[in-house]
Symmetry: none
Subunit: 132 residues, 4 copies
Amino acid sequence: MKIDPGSHVPIYLQIAAEIRSAVAAEVYRPGEALPSLRNMAIELQVNPNTVQRAYDELVRDGLIYPQRGKGLFVADQGTTSAQNGALDVVRKLFEEGVRAGRAAGVSADQMREIFAASIAAPANRGATSHDQ
Amino acid sequence: MKIDPGSHVPIYLQIAAEIRSAVAAEVYRPGEALPSLRNMAIELQVNPNTVQRAYDELVRDGLIYPQRGKGLFVADQGTTSAQNGALDVVRKLFEEGVRAGRAAGVSADQMREIFAASIAAPANRGATSHDQ
Amino acid sequence: MKIDPGSHVPIYLQIAAEIRSAVAAEVYRPGEALPSLRNMAIELQVNPNTVQRAYDELVRDGLIYPQRGKGLFVADQGTTSAQNGALDVVRKLFEEGVRAGRAAGVSADQMREIFAASIAAPANRGATSHDQ
Amino acid sequence: MKIDPGSHVPIYLQIAAEIRSAVAAEVYRPGEALPSLRNMAIELQVNPNTVQRAYDELVRDGLIYPQRGKGLFVADQGTTSAQNGALDVVRKLFEEGVRAGRAAGVSADQMREIFAASIAAPANRGATSHDQ
DNA sequence: GTGGTCTAGACCACA
DNA sequence: GTGGTCTAGACCACG
């Protein structure tokens, strides 16, 4: 789980997205507790408040829920909900790419080629950091 | 050419991107002049300063160049340069989508399916506005 | 007697309120003993410490009193005191509702209508959980 | 517009509720700008971050929307949406009061009496502060 | 120990 | 000037 402090995307959203992915990939399962705010903050080298904000985001989405004095837990529908969310993100990015390509006159075949290359590439450290 | 004032993407970058696309699609050809700063500002309903920043961006990229007292002109290599830039944008978005999908455990086949749907969809409504 | 762990209202206050209601409704009568701390904790599925705090609250109010080694007993004036307390709670909630309505420009007639609907509704599902 | 720092209700929620009321009562109308974060913070004697959080809440509700570098504006559906929200709040409080009364054995007639007294009382500084 | 709120003060991008 | 993010550090209630 890595954060890019130089990105234009706010850190707290990056964290939220990372956790969402982790929930979708069942790294954290429904009923399980997430790392505590403080531990997560130490691990990610950020301020606990920033992690808090990320967790807030997920709580509002209903992906996780807090239990007073105990911790934050993955909701029952968390896994499927996160998986659906992930599909949405993928779809949005692909659609945006297609849209941008079309606007610039890129042919559908060219785009298919680019996509094939993207998905064929090994997952070896992508860090494509779409923004900045 | 439309701007989304509600997006998280800065307006000046939206404008720059739009112009880049237009140059790539040869709406503006090398040697041609871009709309004047104030005309563009009026058309887009934004502050001239904002258009200025967009033009600055493109000048820095070498896509266009200013001619004292005359206006801004598309550079000779502008078209090809913008086209290459567009390919880069497309590639980045696709790679980002693939990366996000992988992190959430989405299979390659699922992603191929989503992509096929994206590229098959008619270009009617644009503005999928990936970011807010 | 049910507890909502997801509410913003502290569990120990929820418990205290429930017991207060029970005393007011004469489920527990003066001189009678309340369920033991640990039995109550088991029944409510909460930490005994939490029940303890609830009992503390009620002792402070003079609604119940402890008898060394025997348990907690409802005070002589417990029933009437709890009934008065309940009236206060009801009054406070109504006043708060009226105040909030007024601030938002809701007319008195509209509020009367809403109130009539509230009190006419059957007592089936409880737990309207005003707070989260 | 007044804040009670001693309440158990977080300040930022108090502020959000106050603004909601103000929007419902058309103190701020659709298209109008709210007081800036800093000005509001000064007026309420709280930290700008706290006001920010309150505004965030309202933005998420769609009651207001931010415009980069310009300010925060009341949304078109803001007034009606806030009015509906206010009715919900009133309803919830009344229902909660009725529920609490019933649980404690308060008769419907007694509650009607209490309600009548609440709504008959002049709006002269209520400050009934339902919580703490 | 946990999450939640608040302050103080800083820095940034945007218009 | 505006809103938005982040840090540092404090305090609180809860279990």
